[in-house]
Symmetry: C3
Subunit: 309 residues, 3 copies
């Protein structure tokens, strides 16, 4: 049972930064191709794997062109059964996975994390709390009446540490039942001082309408992975809604963030978008975002196409 | 509908450069493996994609071994229908694609572009007229009685440009009907001055014989991508023929080129080759090329095997 | 006939180096995914290929993170028939392949070559005798009553050599029949002086018991690829056994090595391990190794899971 899968997205993005230039560029948002599979081991147990590779469809992909080599996404080997599942490798954290669940524009040019209204903990890769965690054991519990728990643990690879006390871990609780999705997540890299973040979020569906949002409070994990971490963090939140008519969807979201706890570096961001599903796997979209960073504006207008296989 | 495909070629190449050394090396000419697929969207429309990756079967492929990392070839997402097709991503230009159509030794150790008798516009990758264009929208028209048009447009990614006036584009017309293939192509990166090239070419089949050729006139696009481009170009042409007997083919081609319009850097090149098709997908070949660069000779003798899947 | 295949292994490894630190890390031992296929050409002949790519499931894979880019393993195109097979590309040597055949923990965290009791000629890649040889033609003879010969030849790519006299080659003889596996191998990179190595090894199966071992004598090929090679080599040997009960296996092996012929740099190594096969393709394992390098000890305790597809 081995399957090829992929996620392809290309967009034309017009960007206009106040005091800077404007330009139209072609971009590819997290394009990837991979192999996944499972094997029945009997006794309700199965072996599972996913090997996802990221590349850029619109630019060159090779080391000699800057840092733009073909790279990895979630790549893990695991076991599944009545107990839930346990996976080993490079895997998104529960913190990040739940953020993805409430963004209908996830992995497009207009995704919420692209404008900072989902925090940097939903991006990047590494073993210090980044969205995709390396050296990672992830446990997903079985579904208990809609409730699920996710435990993330990353084995720090820096063997110059005397105490080994800085393995990153996260705990996420998730309730997903009928119209309601709700989650809470806590993550820390155990570096000392300002080394953790937590969030609350969810979505609610009423017929054609859906509302979603998330509040993130960061002690400083966003801002620094240094040991000990003495950099203050900030908070990030957003609230949005969609209205679905047949194959079409309207999207509106507003969010705010700041870089640290004294509210320096504040910004707010509006996104208005429309999508049209040509099939279950192929979507075209367009939308506009404006982000105000204390007076300096950045605008983006995008037209894109996304295809999954 | 997702399919794995690949192109594999290995050869032993004896090279002898006058005044230099001689050597036998093993090479791999543009080996690649990829995934392609399509999805029927109804109403005569389909989503299509192709994701081709290049590697070197005979050498190490990793960033730490020079620049020899696994890289990309044509990688695009597109829509097809009665109107033709439109593709977004990294795609060969119409200029390059038509050159490939007349070379029966394309993607082997003896390909015409390997000896400079098809110009550098059939090689490389980038957004300035290189053979494989990045940030690229390519439109292929529907077939109109054998006639087809190809429009290439590349969105310049350098946002430090004030005017955005240097997006590369190309126009190609192609007539392919029975024994006749004919094409014309124009390409410019709009950098100012000597910033364009054009070509005419085609092939004609008479029973077991086929003749083919191409003339390219370059104002300087070949020679420089600088802005404005004040480097003179040159011209490149070749003429060749094949004779097919069952699974075997004889090939002979002659071509000339120069580096710029005052005829400095002239060279001419002869290639004689024979191929044997073991199947529709597997071919063995051998051949000899001699290139005379104003007195200095380079000779190459190759034996190779090529397999497609 | 195109097939996806892969080898996935993740382990948690506790390491303790005397005088150094101790740590628990997550590792991936030679994880890979690839494509292989064959085509019937008639007359008992077939075209064959294998394209294997290596990556690290537990760490980032990209050029900008050190040297950790996605890379190649065996990647070749070849022909098979009554004569045996001939392959062109990047291929394991017969020297290395026979070492793999006697290690039941091959491609796990506890593999013999990981502790130096199979020599460095079973590792790495290049054209100077490394385990995976580039620019390589490998001939495997037909099976003759259990006996097979392997010839390896690598075309040196360094064309600054005047004499071309340093193409690496290896000869391996192999007898594999019923309970008996026996092999001998000779390899040289022809660099002059201490430029070769040879080995003898095999295994014998008695019911649930199996014993295996290998003796390697190196003139210096292990130690230096310089021309001429004046660095002394050493010898490496190991002896081990397994006991199989149903899906479970016990493993014990002891080996010794030194860095050069005057016995400097001596080390010895014990490994005790147990494996449990959850299926033909999925295995869990645990084990302990201690390596004594003239007083300095390194200990490793590992728990891992391995899956093939």
């Amino acid at each position: 049972d081995v399957t090829l899968f992929g996620h392809l997205d290309t967009s034309l993005d017009y960007t206009d930064v106040s005091g800077g230039g404007d330009d139209i560029n072609m971009n590819c948002t997290t394009c990837s191709v991979g192999v996944k599979g499972s094997e029945d081991l009997g006794n309700g147990l199965k072996a599972m794997f996913k090997l996802d590779f990221q590349f850029d469809m619109t630019e060159r992909n090779r080391a000699s062109d800057g840092t733009n080599s073909i790279t990895d996404r979630d790549q893990w080997l695991g076991l599944g059964g009545g107990f839930g599942s346990v996976k080993f490798g490079t895997i998104s954290t529960g913190y990040k996975s739940t953020g993805a669940m409430i963004d209908p524009l996830y992995r497009t040019a207009l995704q919420a994390r692209g404008f900072g209204i989902q925090s940097g903990l939903h991006l990047g890769a590494g073993e210090n709390g980044q969205g995709r965690m390396t050296n990672h054991v992830r446990y997903d519990s079985m579904n208990m009446g809609g409730f699920k728990a996710i435990v993330d643990y990353s084995f720090d690879s820096d063997d110059t540490d005397a105490d080994n006390g800085d393995d990153t871990y996260a705990l996420t609780g998730l309730y997903d039942n009928g119209p309601i999705l709700a989650f809470a997540s806590y993550i820390t890299n155990d570096h000392g001082d300002e080394d953790s973040a937590w969030k609350l979020g969810g979505s609610y569906t009423m017929g054609s309408f859906k509302v979603f949002g998330q509040y993130e409070k960061d002690d400083g994990l966003l801002s620094s992975f240094a040991k000990p971490n003495t950099v203050d963090g900030g908070d990030v939140w957003h609230l949005g809604g969609t209205f679905t008519m047949g194959n079409n969807m309207l999207y509106l979201a507003y969010g705010e963030g700041d870089d640290n706890s004294n509210n320096a570096g504040e910004y707010d961001s509006w996104t208005l978008a429309a999508t049209h599903s040509m099939s279950k796997r192929t979507m075209v979209y367009t939308g506009w975002n404006t982000t105000d960073m204390g007076g300096a504006d950045a605008d983006q207008f995008s037209v894109g196409i996304k295809h999954k296989f």
